[in-house]
Amino acid sequence: MSISTLLENYSEFRHFHPVDDVPHNPYKWAMSIDLDACSGCNACSVACYAENNLPVVGREKYLHGQAMHWMRIERYWDEDGREFPDQGAQFLPMMCQQCEAAPCETVCPVGATNHTPDGINSQIYNRCIGSRYCSANCPYKVRYFNWYDYPTTDNVWPAEMNQQLNPDVTVRGKGVMEKCTFCIQRVTVAKNNAKSEGRLVHDGEVQTACQQACPTSAISFGNLVDPESRVHKQWQVQKVELDKDAQTKDKEEGGSDLRGYRILEELRPYPSVMYLERVRETAI
């Protein structure tokens, strides 16, 4: 395709995310997280440190807001003015929502962050120049910047500790933005295995590190375009549609009694993570 053809017939080639006419094929990785099962225990977060070579920044840098936790647990309190939080707290595992129309992608001056064909918002470390526009534009605050060269910083990976580093994951240097990748190194292995066997990745073949650790199995991960996948079925039952900025079910009178929702959907980033609302007993 020449550039002139592209420019002259732009309306034909123009590609929106999400694409409703040509869905991702054969893979669209997505997640669903059941907040009624999530206990807020932080196992997912530590598992992510272990899998993805996340640096421990230490007290001082944490104070400066430089923590590198790709997966974090947010904790909210009820805001109805009761003296005691007598219905507990609300926990929310928050990581990159792998938006279909990611606000971070459009602002990158060098195209370091972009969309993969299987629906993951990728970050190309050696293309990143550290402008941090993406982080400023992310509504979920899930992009983390390397303010320091952690591999050479004292006590981040001192001798022996560096032997734990996962060889499948790049260790990032100073000046680079990073974020949750949906454990793309695991996805890649599964895809390659499937390809060499002439099939598609089947459901459950690949687990993200957070999902694998989660003691309450609150996290599901899989291929949204595979009708057999658990994630696909969950999204379908919950009537959450990837390419909507407001779900049809929510327009019902009195609101929907289905638990599925996406965070800040109205901003139109079309996130790939569906949360299931926490439930609280009415009889007590």
């Binding site: 225990c41 932080n42 272990a50 947010e74 060889p167």
Partner: protein, 736 residues
């Protein structure tokens, strides 16, 4: 990813793995000795393919729950641990603490050489010299003059240790755990006839938990978390209801449908009040129980505990209509001078509700009593401490415990320890106790050592967990505890143990000797059976089941009235147990230091939780450095305003405040163990952890609290971020 692997390849790998690691396990340094040469990847073991991971099963040693793990190994290095799906305890899952096990293994602050004290420094010596020194010091010492202090031990390590001490006629094995559920064990024994029954959370429709943090740090949290997830989905579509009663919100409390704050120490009163209310809701109570709870009417109980009469009624109604339920007595209820009584009153609720035999079930025992876990308590520490103070012991051993850090300051354990003639500490780090030793013997990490472990809480069946090296040892001069004990026992009974070159050989012989009983009847070949055992990582057994006694008794049940507020020390100190840091043994693992406390989101430091109302009274705002003073000392830490705590209590987490141990532990936070009052449970003599009374004063300085929570605090600012639905609106049975 690793759950889907080729079984046959896996066995082949482990067949080699077992043998290869066994060789390296005994001699160590064979390359240095010239017995072996370093071979490049041109000639590797056939399982060692660059860039391809292999997986070995072992057992997590970060706490005593006994979760089975699968280690991912690449190019000879262990990279990550995952749960082993075949274990009934953790079913393929892990907690954050377990994930951080690799940071224990690769820790830069591990002790690498045996160290002998000369003045104030340690001189590196050889193992031969260390063993000779122990033999010399033990020479002519009688059994009564030896004390062996350890954390919880089980399996063959316990067998060897027992035999070693027996060879001296020594009966002084003190098993100490700083935050064990010792009072609850004793109360369970009385109520149900066993110390640790099985709690079937997933079968219960209502769980009423009195301070049992079963999702965080209580007994077997990964197992309970899975049960909890099933409980929430409900067996027949009816979602389980969790009611948590405590004075300081735990992680479990934060997940409750109803979190009830009680005046500290009145948990037992509330339990009796609920029994009384159940009686008025028409639940049949036996005569003696009815008489015992007669005076615990709603109004009185409400006044004593601070829980409204209406709420007590609601709980009783719920417990009556939704059966079976499950009532749990946890660490918050047992931490008082009347802790046994609290626990007994709470257990009585299970009896009254008919839960015994349904959700409180008998668990199998491991059929080999010699290997059953020796569980710890604080009575053991107290007895040892008194003995040390009286100068009874010439030789003191300490393994897998850090009493100088965890003993209440008022016990003066450090001073008393100095009175022992010769102090040997087996340790991974130069922790506070190792700093006081005459001889420090460096241990292998749990990921490079052999062992067997029997969990105290057996989730689905009796089982023996196998611990095997996931990689070669990192340091040439560390040793496995089993190897050390074997070497020591050979000094005493050389003839009996000479055929075992090392602990691996001992374990293998021990397992094969009993092959039939361990599930190997049908397997003729010893090697095949052994390799299969290693590849599974778990030996599942049929154990004897002792039926629970379901006879409720109220004999001796006497609950004291709530204590009046002390004018000088008006607040109750609740030392809280955080799921990651527990009693502080894992504080040198940076992932855990940087993993936010789930409720306050604070990292890398200690804090004082104080209710906003009390804080306003005292003029305290977030970040104020406050001094918390008890009769036995004081600590200074940042204040955090926390709504989930009784206004007459404050809470400081345990586990931080190390003065030694390593770069990630030392100097971060304060150690509330140091200021605890020496109050003991009247029945069991256990240290009452929640009985310390304190006052709080401002020091005048203020810091910015280092936490994950943003400037909006716990507010969602009107957005739908973490959303919630009432239970009568959702249809869980229609979900996937």
């Amino acid at each position: 990813m690793n759950n889907v692997f080729d079984r046959r390849d896996f066995l082949k790998v482990l067949g080699w793995g077992g043998a290869a690691v066994a060789l390296s396990g005994c001699g160590n340094g064979s390359v240095e000795n010239g017995e072996e040469t370093v071979v490049s990847y041109v000639e590797t073991n056939d399982f060692m393919i660059p860039s391809i991971s292999v997986y070995f099963n072992s057992t997590c040693a970060q706490c005593d729950a006994g979760c089975s793990i699968t280690g991912r190994i690449r190019e000879g290095r262990v990279l990550k641990v995952e749960g082993n799906p075949d274990s009934g305890i953790n079913r393929g899952k892990t907690c954050g603490l377990g994930q951080a096990g690799v940071q224990h293994h690769y820790n830069p602050d591990r002790v690498r050489e045996p160290l002998l004290r000369t003045g104030n420094s340690g001189e590196a010596i050889t193992w031969e010299k260390a063993y000779a020194l122990i033999a010399e010091k033990m020479n002519g010492v009688s059994g009564e003059e030896i004390a062996f202090l350890s954390g919880g031990v089980s399996g063959h390590l316990k067998v060897l240790l027992g035999n070693y001490l027996d060879s001296f006629g020594c009966k002084n094995h003190f098993v100490y755990e700083a935050i064990a559920p010792a009072v609850v064990r004793a109360a369970n024994k009385k109520s149900y006839g066993v110390e640790m029954p099985r709690f079937n959370i997933s079968k219960a429709k209502v769980v009423l938990s009195f301070g049992a943090d079963f999702l965080g740090a209580w007994i077997s949290p990964v197992h309970f978390s899975q049960q909890y997830a099933q409980f929430r989905k409900g067996a027949d579509g009816q979602r389980g209801v969790l009611v948590q009663v405590e004075s300081k919100m735990t992680l479990t409390g934060a997940n409750a449908d109803r979190w009830l704050v009680v005046r500290p120490g009145t948990e037992g009163i509330l339990a009796l009040g609920i029994i009384n209310a159940l009686g008025s809701h028409g639940v049949a109570l036996s005569g003696d129980i009815a008489a015992a709870v007669k005076s615990y009417n709603k109004d009185r109980v409400s006044k004593d505990t601070g829980v409204s009469a209406e709420q007590i009624d609601k709980i009783a109604a719920l417990l009556k209509t939704r059966t079976p339920s499950l009532v749990l007595a946890g660490s918050a209820a047992e931490g008082y001078a009347h802790g046994s009584q609290n626990a007994a009153a709470i257990n009585l609720l299970n009896q009254v509700l008919g839960n015994v035999g349904k959700t409180v079930e008998a668990a199998e025992a491991v059929p080999f009593p010699q290997m059953a876990p020796a569980t710890g308590n604080t009575v053991a520490l107290k007895t040892l401490n008194d003995g040390l103070n009286a100068g009874k012991y010439k030789v003191l051993f300490s393994y897998a415990t850090n009493p100088v850090f965890t003993a209440p300051g008022v016990m003066k354990f450090q001073d008393n320890m100095a009175k022992a003639g010769f102090k040997v500490v087996f340790s991974h780090y130069m922790d506070e106790t190792a700093m006081q030793a005459d001889l420090v013997l460096p241990l292998d990490s749990a990921l490079e050592d052999w062992g067997t472990q029997v969990p105290e809480y057996l989730a689905t069946c009796a089982q023996i967990n196998i611990q095997q090296p996931l990689m070669e040892k990192l340091h040439a001069n560390t040793r496995g505890m089993g190897d050390i004990l074997l070497a020591l026992i050979k000094q005493r009974r050389a003839e009996d143990y000479k055929k075992f070159d090392d602990y691996y050989a001992y374990l293998r012989a021990a397992v094969l000797q009993n092959k039939g009983a361990l599930g190997g009847k049908a397997i003729a070949d010893d090697d095949i059976f052994w390799n299969e055992t290693l590849s599974k990582g778990i030996i599942k057994l049929e154990g004897p089941v002792k039926a629970l006694s379901s006879k409720a008794s109220v004999a001796g049940l006497m609950l004291p009235a709530p204590v009046a507020i002390d004018a000088q020390y008006p607040l109750q100190l609740i030392p809280s147990v955080n799921a990651s840091l527990r009693d502080g043994r894992n504080a040198n693992q940076p992932w855990l230091q940087e993993s936010p406390d789930p409720l306050t989101t604070i990292v890398w430091d200690s804090w004082v939780e104080i209710h906003p109302r009390k804080a306003a009274e005292l003029g305290i705002v977030e970040g104020d450095i406050v001094e918390v003073t008890s009769k036995n000392g004081s600590v200074k830490a940042q204040a955090y305003l926390f709504p989930g705590i009784h206004p007459d209590a404050i809470s400081i987490p345990l586990g931080r405040g190390h003065e030694a141990m390593g770069r990630y532990a030392k100097g971060y936070g304060v150690n509330p163990f140091q200021i605890l009052d020496a109050v003991f449970d009247k029945e069991t003599g256990e240290l009452a952890l929640h009985e310390t009374r304190v006052k709080v004063s401002k020091t005048g300085s203020r810091v910015i609290v280092v936490k994950d929570e943003g400037p909006a605090g716990g507010s969602q600012m009107g957005k739908k971020i973490a959303a919630r639905l009432p239970s009568d609106k959702v249809k869980l049975s229609e979900e996937i």
